[in-house]
Amino acid sequence: MHRFANPARFMRVSGTVLPWLAALTALMLVAGLVLGFRAPPDYQQGDTVRIMFIHVPAAWMAVFGYSSLALASAAALIWRHPLAEIAAQQSAPLGAGFTALCLITGSLWGAPMWGTWWVWDARLTSVLVLFFLYLGYIALVHAFDDPSRGSRAASVLALVGSVNVPIIHYSVEWWSTLHQPASVMRLGGPTIDRSILLPLLVMALAFTLLFIVLLLIRMRAALLERKIRALRLLEAEAAGTEYGFAAPEVSA
């Protein structure tokens, strides 16, 4: 675990790996889109089934994003892993974006299928709660003058909110909902047709890769920004001593 704690090592490894991951992501996205548009229309849902190729992977990423956020927050709180905090904070906007996309595309799918743009059933409500959890997390990080206090408070919030994740997944089983029950992530194996399943899985893989690529880029940017802040502080310190001021107390 601590082998990966070194930021310089992370920058090196991520820098080498990133171009390959980005290329793979683009490839998967194209493949997923092609497969998705070439799949035959569903006998019940017609061409709206193609919305599923965005909606379902986005939903999976929304939950995946929050799980990574919670795990990274746990690592930051328990082991004080230096990169964990950065990973958690940089993944939050990504997760929020996928959740918003899930809600928007779900609404666009529900309108022709259910005849309504929104319904307050268990699945939709818990995903909306997830979206607010993301926003609350981001707000909390930036709410304090002391950034480290914000990070720690937000880490606690991330863990408290993770109770929502099983609720989202099992909501379609525990309550009778309008939203259809799980047809892929279930114990008996997927129940949907191969021609629909394949584009779905490819898009899911593409979205996962995209998440990882964007997370790595954001983490690299965050690490560079830390370096910039440290250098700026050094500059200010040097300028101060020039004029006879003592070096200020610097908190990392």
């Binding site: 607010f132 609350g136 707000a139 909390l140 709410a143 003058d145 720690r152 408070a153 606690v156 408290v160």
Partner: protein
């Protein structure tokens, strides 16, 4: 045990010392609920249908109002530090704070509900379930609120932020509370919803003080 009670006694004394500062929450509850007939019109059937929802939402908002007094003032004048250093475990101190918050907001709201329900033309057959739901749900509001208040100690614009954090977590309480009341109105028993509210309370009672205490320790570092 005596330190536990001491915290509650102190909070209650403070709440009622500042000219009925403690009565603010219940006053807000009553006034806000009574705004609705002006807003949506006084037709009895319309009001009766939404009465339980209005009561629950305004109860939730009233509970939020008093949250910044839970830890903020103690943190500012150093009392929180003393509480942490005392032999009473911080989790129990948080529980004591939740109890005093409930005594100042949840309980008065509960007592004022029959009057408000009357003015909102709620069918009397729904009142017992509404009250039972509030009895189980308002402590949960205080418990989740404690977590939010502890997390936002010392934050800029902490009051608004607490609402943003706490409201999503409290939505299930709202759903089941109103569900129980409405079930009773439609000749169904609301006992399933009450059971879930009870489960939420059983779940929040040990876990929220734990989370809030962890957040308080972060704030006091």
């Amino acid at each position: 045990m005596s330190s536990f009670l001491a915290i509650i006694r102190r909070d209650l004394r403070l709440a009622f010392r500042q000219g009925g500062d403690g009565a603010m929450a219940v006053m807000f509850f009553v006034l806000a609920a009574l705004l609705f007939p002006f807003g949506i019109g006084p037709e009895p059937e319309l009001l009766a249908r939404v009465a339980s929802g209005i009561i629950w939402v305004t109860a939730l908002l009233a509970a939020l109002l008093a949250l910044d007094r839970m830890f903020q003032t103690d943190w500012e004048d150093g009392t929180l530090e003393l509480i942490r250093l005392s032999p009473l475990p911080l989790e129990l101190a948080v529980l004591a704070k939740c109890l005093s918050h409930w005594l100042v907001t949840g309980l008065p709201v509960l007592l004022a509900t029959p009057l408000v329900a009357l003015m909102l033309r709620l069918d009397p057959s729904g009142l017992p379930m509404l009250l039972l739901g509030l009895l189980l749900g308002t402590p949960v509001l205080s418990l989740f609120g404690a977590v939010g208040a502890a997390l936002t100690l010392g934050a800029r614009r902490g009051g608004v932020l607490v609402s943003l954090l706490v409201l999503p977590l409290e939505i299930p309480v709202l759903i089941f509370g109103v569900g129980a009341a409405d079930a009773a109105l439609s000749q169904d028993t609301g006992s399933a919803q009450l059971a879930i509210l009870g489960a939420l309370l059983a779940f929040a009672l040990p876990l929220c003080p734990l989370a809030a205490a962890a957040a308080l320790r972060q704030a006091l570092e």
